[in-house]
Symmetry: C2
Subunit: 471 residues, 2 copies
């Protein structure tokens, strides 16, 4: 059992100083209120340790006293991993560990503390002439520790990988306060188990990441970007194959967008001009990197080959930065634009990329049969097999009544299709609180047993992010 | 304690059939004798299960009876992970699980069983017009399960990653016979801990990989390959930066070779012609991929920029497949050529790539001071910070006396430099038996504690590859 809240606050104040502890729930709003407003619950206290030693001191104390600790970064997660589940936990915010310890553009490595805001990391790296290729809608507030703990993805996973693949090493405080020093900057290191990848994506249930060494890449000279008209997801899959054959790892993005997304954004004046060439049931946003000393024109010539193969019917090439920005705005507003049309039921799923057309066809048909008038809005990272398979309410329906009646039913239909196709019910957002029960139903039971065994081995008292991921 | 050998043989025969069990040590040569001839010791039996269910049956029995099991693939590992340490273990060879379950070139995925020989996997994939980009000197006998369990590297890690990064999912039999089914073909899956990466590189100490889903890539149209003269490792590091800026992820290989390697290979007629343009203290073998529809000339123009920046003094471009083959033969014979000059002391180490010049300079100076006349032969994957830092005996020295006197001393000197530079004492070969004691000395103690906790959680009886990695 945990301690009473007042004892927790005074113990933490004695450990790390009163300035680093908030005990009044009325002042905890920024830490308690999460983006989807689904998991708003109290905490016993919020602690903001000023350095790694203070994180260790808090964990040693929490371990001795059986106090649940919820690690938190920028509080931007979409599945409730970063906020309490019971209400008697302490939120441990990494926000004060926001130092970039080093940047070496020539060597391609940055060491950043967990509290570093992603956008600040971008700016610091770009000032040195390099890039850290992980971009998220929430990058103005998301922090490195949370980005890694959720193994965040984003729009350039195709070329650079997700957070896990961009991380060389981590430093982490364990459940009992021990410090794991895995902060190397090595591209190859076969000296033991892959602890780094175990901590990345563990949602703070195995340790608290306090810093990470991250891979930097040279800035491309330019990008070649186009928005192309395609008849169907099947054609999109074939086009993706053609682009990979011709562009290899220069293929930076291959995003699928349905016509309804354009329709909504134009009707609500969310775009300053129509970025597409003409009306089409589906669009693909395609981008190639172009490095210094390389002639432009690769995308143009690949699209000509695609025309000849009748995979695409029309296309717009970005001729200016404004064009490129508009094309990306069109893509990035896909999530937000749905809110202009009332409620929507969301899924962040992945399947083997060859199965994306079946996922969309079978999922849409089954849901439309169940909910007449519902509007499928499947979009996203076709090149990763990761579709944000969302459904907007029927025109004119009552949002609350729609959600109350259909949310669970639509989830069930989509997850059934996803599992039948060998897919994942959480491609990039994670499990947190939102999908704990779902995970128990769908995950390989031996995988769950292995996960529980590892959790018990590294956090025998279960004080790290209690109730998250494994329940 | 283990059972007597004769009981083991009859129990295994009853489980999987006598045809799949070898009990006579005289007939075990192929399984016992490993490449470096350092760890030749008996086994109680060799079992070659014909399918996954038989692997499970063996493990259930081994778990009940406390019998140590040594999983083995192609028996090509260089650190003794795949052969017994005590002599009373059972070698479990995966050689009969050699089916390629599926290849889908368009989707970029192959599912291969653990016993599949790497070169057979290459051939099967290339017949479908794709490639599996992991090449090793031992690929004619190395098997997928061992390649993954050792997280093998090779010459194209720079562009495609090592075995871990090329693996999407694994199927594995656990210590007690349970089957972990993680064989998905997903590029993104954030549903729990990263068990795949824990099993990859674990040297069979946490589970026995029985199959894997692996990433396939489109075949490049062509390669652009050159062998360039460089004055020093410092210049090589700068040149690497220039190549990355201009070629990005098209940079397929950046290998460093010292002049002595050319000298030895020419003197021993190991090359049909000199692949270099002129004499130089150091050479870099540089290769770019060229995808369909892309104009050639990127490497040429990058090398011109390097000339202008006085980073290189001369270069040969491969003008034919024969040229390219010869350049790669020069690189690939670097390990073997040393044996023509007597004994050599070998290290497979990595450092942050910016530190490679210091590693070579300080390591060579310190060893030359300790062993007058010794010949440093540092070569390898500069682009990964991974140097095979070898030393050939002084000309005319007695090989046995040289090894007896200096092997340990030189190791100590090199590992000291490596650790001072934040490096790894095993970049790609692993720990196995060879480096168990070394690992205990050099690894972060908390990392070792975490590893032991995970090992105990997944293999509480310690029957999976006993004594390997953690001792």
């Amino acid at each position: 059992m945990s301690l009473p809240a007042n004892e927790i606050v005074s113990a933490l104040s004695a450990l790390v100083g009163g300035d680093n502890v908030v005990g009044d729930v009325a002042r905890m709003g920024a830490w308690l209120s999460e983006p989807r407003k689904r998991f708003h619950i109290a905490a016993a206290a919020v602690v903001t340790p000023p350095d790694v030693a203070a994180v260790q001191a808090v964990m040693r104390w929490a371990h001795e006293n059986n106090v649940g600790i919820v690690p938190q970064g920028g509080n931007t997660g979409l599945v409730g991993a970063q906020v309490p589940r019971r209400g008697d936990e302490v939120i441990l915010s990494l926000q004060k560990l926001d130092r970039i310890r080093s940047i070496d553009a020539a060597a391609g490595v940055m060491v950043a503390e967990a509290g570093t805001i992603l956008e600040n990391a971008h700016r610091a790296v770009e000032a040195e002439g390099a890039m850290f290729p992980l971009w998220l809608a929430s990058q103005g507030s998301a922090r490195i520790g949370g980005v890694l703990s959720s193994n965040a993805g984003g729009v350039n996973v195709l070329a650079y990988g997700n957070a896990r693949e961009l991380t060389m090493g981590v430093e982490a405080v364990l459940a009992d306060g021990r410090l794991y020093n895995g902060l190397n900057a090595l591209k190859k290191d076969n000296t033991g188990y892959d602890l780094k990848d175990l901590l990345v994506g563990a949602e703070g249930t195995l340790g608290i990441i306090t810093a990470a060494s991250l891979k930097l890449y040279p800035l491309p000279e330019d990008y070649e970007t186009a928005l192309v008209n395609i008849a169907s997801p099947e054609a999109a899959f074939e086009l993706f194959g053609l682009m990979r054959e011709r562009a290899g790892s220069r293929l930076n993005a291959f995003e699928l967008i349905p016509w309804i997304g354009l329709d909504i954004q134009l009707r609500h004046q969310m775009l300053d001009a129509d970025p597409t060439a003409s009306a089409s049931p589906w669009y693909a946003l395609i981008e190639l990197t172009r490095m210094a000393g390389t002639a432009p024109g690769s995308l143009q010539s690949a699209l000509e080959a695609a025309f000849e193969a009748t995979l695409i019917s029309d296309a717009t090439m970005a001729e200016s930065l404004a064009d490129r920005t508009r094309m990306w705005a069109f893509r990035e507003q896909m999530s937000e634009c749905q809110s202009r049309e009332g409620a929507s039921i969301k899924h962040d799923v992945s399947v083997p990329i060859a199965a994306v057309p079946r996922l969309i066809a079978e999922g849409s048909a089954a849901v439309e049969k169940r909910v007449p008038g519902i509007r499928p809005v499947p979009f996203g990272h076709m090149g990763d097999g990761n579709i944000h398979f969302n459904f907007s309410q029927p025109v004119g329906a009552d949002p609350k009544a729609f959600m109350a009646e259909y949310d669970e039913a639509v989830h069930e239909i989509i997850y059934d299709v996803v599992l039948k196709l060998g897919g994942s019910v959480s491609a990039e957002h994670g499990i947190g609180q939102l999908k704990v029960d779902l995970l128990k139903q769908v995950k390989d039971p031996v995988a769950l047993e292995m996960m529980r065994a590892i959790k018990n081995a590294l956090d025998p008292k279960g004080i790290l992010n209690p109730g998250k991921m494994l329940g």
